[in-house]
C-alpha cells in the first residue's frame, strides 16, 4: 500500500469534518474523529471545530483547510457511518483509498428514512407523554394528525427557501391554524393542548439541552451559538402560532 501524501490526507480529513458538521455532530466528536483519521494515516493533523466552521491543519506545515457551514439539522445516520468508517480505518481494516472512496460515497448519498416512516414518526412524536391524562384522548389523537401536517409543512417550506427560521414558523402556523379550525368545528376540546402536543417535532428542546451539555464540557462558543439559535427558533414558533391565532380570530369575527 502506497503511503498517501499529506495533500490527500488533508483533503479527506476536511471532507470528514464537513460532513460531520453538516450532520449536526458535537464539536468535540468532530475534532477527535478528524484527528484520529489523520494520525492513523500518518500525518500530524490538528483540528479545531466550532459550530459554524472546521479548521484542519498539518502541524509541521503551513497548510490549513477551512470549511464553513451554517447551522443545519440533524442527520445522525451519517455521523454513525463516518464513526464506523473511522474506527475501521484506525484499526487498519481498510486502506486509505477505501476510506477516500467511502467518504465520497457518504457525502453524496442522501441517507433518509422513507417518507411514510418519517410521517408516522412525526405523528408519534406529536403525542406528547407530557400531556397524557392531562389533555383529553381526543385532543391527543388530533395532535397526531395535526403534528404530521405541521411537520410536512415545515419540511415543504424548508426545501424551498433558505430564509432561516421561516421553516419552523411555517410549521407552527400550520399546526395552530389546524388546531383552531378543529376547535371552531367543535371537534377539539382545547386548542392550546393540541398546539403544544403537535409542536413537539418542531420545538428546540434538544437544541437547548445539547447547548447546556456543550457549555458544561467547556465548548463555550458552540454552546452559546446553539442557545441563541434555540431562542430564535422558539421565537419563530411562538410568532407562527400567534399569527395563526390572530388570523382565526379576525376571520372568525370574534
Amino acid at each position: 500500500m502506497s503511503q498517501p501524501d499529506t495533500e490527500e490526507i488533508l483533503e479527506v480529513c476536511g471532507k470528514v469534518g464537513e460532513i460531520l458538521l453538516n450532520a449536526g455532530a458535537e464539536t468535540s466528536r468532530i475534532e477527535t474523529t478528524v484527528e484520529y483519521i489523520g494520525h492513523a494515516a500518518g500525518a500530524r493533523v490538528a483540528c479545531y471545530a466550532t459550530i459554524t466552521a472546521v479548521f484542519v491543519s498539518l502541524e509541521n506545515e503551513s497548510r490549513t483547510r477551512l470549511i464553513k457551514s451554517s447551522l443545519g439539522g440533524f442527520n445522525l445516520q451519517k455521523v454513525d457511518e463516518l464513526n464506523q468508517l473511522s474506527r475501521e480505518f484506525v484499526a487498519h481494516k481498510i486502506t486509505f483509498s477505501d476510506l477516500e472512496r467511502e467518504v465520497a460515497r457518504i457525502e453524496r448519498q442522501v441517507i433518509n428514512f422513507p417518507w411514510w416512516a418519517r410521517i408516522l414518526g412525526a405523528g408519534w412524536v406529536s403525542v406528547a407523554p407530557m400531556l397524557l391524562f392531562k389533555a383529553t384522548n381526543g385532543d391527543l389523537a388530533w395532535a397526531f394528525f395535526v403534528g404530521i401536517f405541521g411537520y410536512l409543512g415545515a419540511e415543504f417550506v424548508g426545501r424551498r427557501t433558505t430564509t432561516p427560521y421561516f421553516k419552523e414558523a411555517t410549521g407552527a402556523f400550520v399546526v395552530a391554524i389546524l388546531a383552531e379550525l378543529l376547535m371552531n368545528i367543535g371537534w377539539g376540546d382545547s386548542a392550546g393542548n393540541i398546539i403544544i402536543s403537535a409542536l413537539m417535532p418542531l420545538v428546540p428542546g434538544v437544541a437547548i439541552t445539547n447547548a447546556i451539555r456543550e457549555i458544561l464540557s467547556r465548548q463555550i462558543i458552540s454552546g452559546i451559538v446553539r442557545t441563541v439559535d434555540a431562542v430564535f427558533v422558539a421565537g419563530a414558533i411562538g410568532s407562527g402560532v400567534v399569527i395563526a391565532i390572530v388570523l382565526t380570530q379576525v376571520l372568525g369575527g370574534r
Binding site: 455532530a25 458535537e26 466528536r29 439539522g73 440533524f74 442527520n75 445522525l76 445516520q77 451519517k78 455521523v79 454513525d80 457511518e81 464513526n83 464506523q84 441517507i111 433518509n112 428514512f113 416512516a117 418519517r118 408516522l120 414518526g121 412525526a122 405523528g123 408519534w124 412524536v125 403525542v127 406528547a128 407523554p129 407530557m130 397524557l132 391524562f133 411537520y151 407552527a172 403544544i196 409542536l199 413537539m200 417535532p201 420545538v203 428546540p204 428542546g205 434538544v206 437547548i208 439541552t209 445539547n210 447547548a211 447546556i212 451539555r213 457549555i215 458544561l216 434555540a230 431562542v231 422558539a234 421565537g235 414558533i237 411562538g238 410568532s239 402560532v241 400567534v242
Partner: protein, 158 residues
C-alpha cells in the same frame, strides 16, 4: 396499567423522533427503550415530588447510563440514543410557551416559563454529567459483561 400506557407512548415518541432525526436503524429500538424507561422514572418520581429538578435529573441519569450501555453494545455514537430518548423530557414545549407569552406581552408568565426552561435544561445537563461520571467507574465491568452476552447486530445493512 397507567404505567404501561405511559411506557408505550413514550417509546413510540422516542422512536418517532429517532426517525425524524435519522438515527441508524439498529439504534431505534435501544433509543425507544431508553426513552420509555426514563419517562416512566420521571413519571413515578413526579408523583411523589412536584418540583421540576428531581424528576428530570433522575430521568437523565437513567438515559445517560442506559444510553452509554446501548452505545457500547450496539456500537453507535451515544448521541444517537440521547437525542431521541430526550424528546419527552426536553423543555421544548415550555420554550414555545415562553416565546408566546413574550410576544403577547405577558411579562410575568414569560419570565416564569423561561426560568423553568433554564431550570429543566440545567437539571437534564447535570443529570448527564453525573451519569457519565458513574459510567466511567463501571465501564470496565460492563465491557466484560457485554462480551459474555450474545452478539447483536452492530452494522446496518447497506
Amino acid at each position: 396499567m397507567r404505567l404501561l400506557v405511559e411506557f408505550i407512548i413514550s417509546i413510540l415518541s422516542s422512536i418517532g423522533f429517532g426517525v425524524i432525526t435519522n438515527i441508524p436503524k439498529r439504534a431505534l429500538l435501544p433509543a425507544g427503550i431508553t426513552g420509555g424507561v426514563s419517562w416512566c422514572a420521571y413519571w413515578l418520581i413526579s408523583l411523589q415530588d412536584h418540583s421540576l429538578v428531581l424528576p428530570n435529573f433522575t430521568a437523565t441519569v437513567i438515559i445517560g447510563l442506559l444510553g452509554n450501555y446501548f452505545a457500547i453494545r450496539h456500537r453507535v455514537p451515544v448521541n444517537t440514543i440521547y437525542i431521541p430518548s430526550l424528546v419527552s423530557l426536553v423543555p421544548g414545549g415550555i420554550a414555545y410557551l415562553g416565546a408566546r407569552s413574550f410576544t403577547m406581552g405577558k411579562a410575568a408568565s414569560a419570565a416564569q416559563q423561561i426560568y423553568n426552561v433554564i431550570l429543566i435544561a440545567m437539571a437534564l445537563a447535570v443529570g448527564f454529567v453525573v451519569a457519565e461520571v458513574i459510567f466511567k467507574a463501571i465501564r470496565p465491568f460492563l465491557i466484560r459483561l457485554i462480551a459474555k452476552l450474545p452478539e447483536v447486530q452492530t452494522k446496518s445493512q447497506k
